[in-house]
């Protein structure tokens, strides 16, 4: 293990880590905020919305994320969409993750017993109030474990952004390996950093789960 090498590349690795965190947070926010309307559309009474949402989910589920990224970054310009690597990466990762989060949300909505909704109707709540007071708070608790998993998957997928030249952790390590011919050090270090990042996410989720007192 060449420690001097790590010291030399320390700043680059750190900035790669920050880029990975940034990409994951942005893509995560995008995925979740896109997933909510998609999950609602899937069970919408409107035929068109239902089909559109279903199609979106099926396409994303059936495509490797790398292809989505390639299409966006390299294929985008041919239809007039010219994106820098970072926005293309965040967009691709976010839109891809949204399909999976949407399925998690849908399952969450469905697992709220119909009787609870009827009870809310009987005390006069509107659909919006039922959503806000009854469905969403319970759903958040229900989707926390699978949602955490999905976010961890997204963190791992973010390594693919190195291929479309985003200077995140994996890209930094590859560059380091190319320049120094060291293989073990760069990849071992970033493996450790990915693990650390994911561990923090998992622990945070566990803490939140503990604080949800109502689950019997």
């Amino acid at each position: 293990m060449d420690v001097a090498l790590l010291v030399q590349y320390g700043p680059a690795i750190l900035s790669g880590l920050l880029m990975t965190v940034q990409v994951c947070v942005l893509a995560g926010i995008l995925a979740v905020s896109l997933a909510l309307p998609v999950s609602l559309a899937v069970s919408s009474p409107l035929w068109l919305l239902r089909v559109a949402a279903r199609t979106y989910i099926e396409i994303m589920r059936g495509t490797p994320v790398l292809i989505v990224l390639f299409l966006l970054y390299y294929g985008g310009p041919s239809i007039g969409v010219r994106l820098d690597a970072l926005p293309a990466g965040v967009l691709g990762l976010g839109c891809y993750g949204a399909a999976f989060f949407a399925e998690i949300f849908r399952a969450g909505f469905q697992s709220i017993p119909k009787g609870q909704i009827e009870a809310a109707r009987m005390v006069g709540m509107t659909n919006l109030q039922i959503m806000r007071q009854i469905k969403v708070p319970q759903m958040l608790a229900l989707i926390l474990p699978p949602g955490t998993n999905q976010f961890i998957i997204l963190v791992k997928e973010s390594a693919l952004l190195s291929i479309i030249t985003v200077a995140e952790l994996t890209k930094t390590a590859t560059q380091m390996a190319n320049e120094t011919f060291a293989v073990v050090e760069p990849y071992l270090v970033i493996a450790l950093l990915y693990w650390l990042f994911i561990e923090i996410i998992a622990q945070t989720a566990a803490k939140i789960e503990e604080r949800i007192r109502w689950q019997g």
């Binding site: 009787g115 109502w214 019997g216």
Partner: protein
């Protein structure tokens, strides 16, 4: 057809120049009037021309074998189930539909909520909201539907919990409550909205036998206070002692109804005789 005609007109009320103005309400307007209710699930008709009138402060118990349509009637009265034919009037207002000429159109959600506001409902399986404390279960609708300030809502919520004997459990989550306590919170939740009538669908059927009494006691108290109640129940003792009228249903029809003393001691239809005989055998 005007909603008011649900109330029988006094003879001669419609003749002469001094017809009653349409907004005048008769002295004892029925709370709930269901007429000719029909309901099918798919091809299966589960309600056949059900007529039921409930007067203010009346306690009506609906009994009958499993699958006879008791819950469906109750759910139609609350429009949790859309009835196919017939009418339900709540204090003279048509529930769930509005009439355009001779055609009838589904009423808007808002209109349904408006008419339904005089009804409270208690379910067999409580259906408390598990992510809220007992107090929040009672106060949420006060705050978001009636837009009551939090402190006021909580004062009222605590009063309601006290009424069902649960003042000390206000901060407990449903998961920490016994079945009987859950059902009493559910009753408090419905009462908080100050309904004029309460509908109960087998409120004690999901409870351990030793917890049935505490819920029935709350219901008896409500009845004594003059609450209008429609109670689907298998508790014959409750029906016998508390009901003003007992309605016996079988196969989607009302077979017989009357004061409990009459119905239980002198059942006219064979089906009710059978039903009561089976019940007596089982409770020996």
């Amino acid at each position: 057809m005007s909603a008011r005609t649900a109330e029988p007109m006094p003879a001669g009320a419609q003749s002469g120049m001094t017809a009653r103005p349409p907004e005048a309400k008769p002295a004892l307007q029925p709370m709930i009037v269901a007429k000719g209710l029909r309901k099918s699930f798919g091809a299966r008709q589960v309600l056949h021309d059900v007529d039921l009138t409930v007067l203010p402060s009346e306690v009506v118990c609906i009994i009958g074998p499993s699958g006879s349509g008791k819950s469906t009637v109750l759910r139609c009265l609350a429009f949790l189930e859309r009835y196919d034919d017939g009418t339900v009037h709540i204090e003279g207002d048509l529930l769930g539909y509005h009439e355009v000429g001779s055609r009838r159109m589904p009423a808007s959600d808002r209109r349904v909520d408006q008419v339904r506001a005089s009804l409270g409902m208690v379910f067999q399986h409580f259906h408390l909201w598990p992510h809220m404390t007992a107090l929040a279960n009672v106060t949420t609708a006060l705050r978001v539907v009636k837009r009551m300030p939090r402190t006021e809502a909580e004062a009222q919520g605590r009063a309601m919990l006290a009424k069902v004997g649960l003042a000390d459990r206000a901060d407990a989550y449903p998961a920490a409550l016994s079945g009987g306590q859950k059902q009493r919170v559910a009753i408090a939740r419905a009462l908080a909205m100050q309904p004029k009538a309460m509908l109960f669908d087998e409120p004690t059927s999901a409870l351990d036998p030793e917890l049935v009494g505490e819920v029935l006691a709350v219901m008896k108290h409500l009845a004594a206070e003059g609450m209008t109640m429609v109670v689907v129940t298998h508790e014959m003792g409750f029906a016998a002692h508390v009901a003003d009228r007992v309605v016996f249903m079988d196969a989607g029809r009302i077979i017989e109804q009357g004061p409990p003393s009459e119905l239980f001691s002198n059942p006219k239809s064979e089906r009710l005789q059978q039903f009561l005989a089976t019940w007596r055998e089982r409770s020996l």
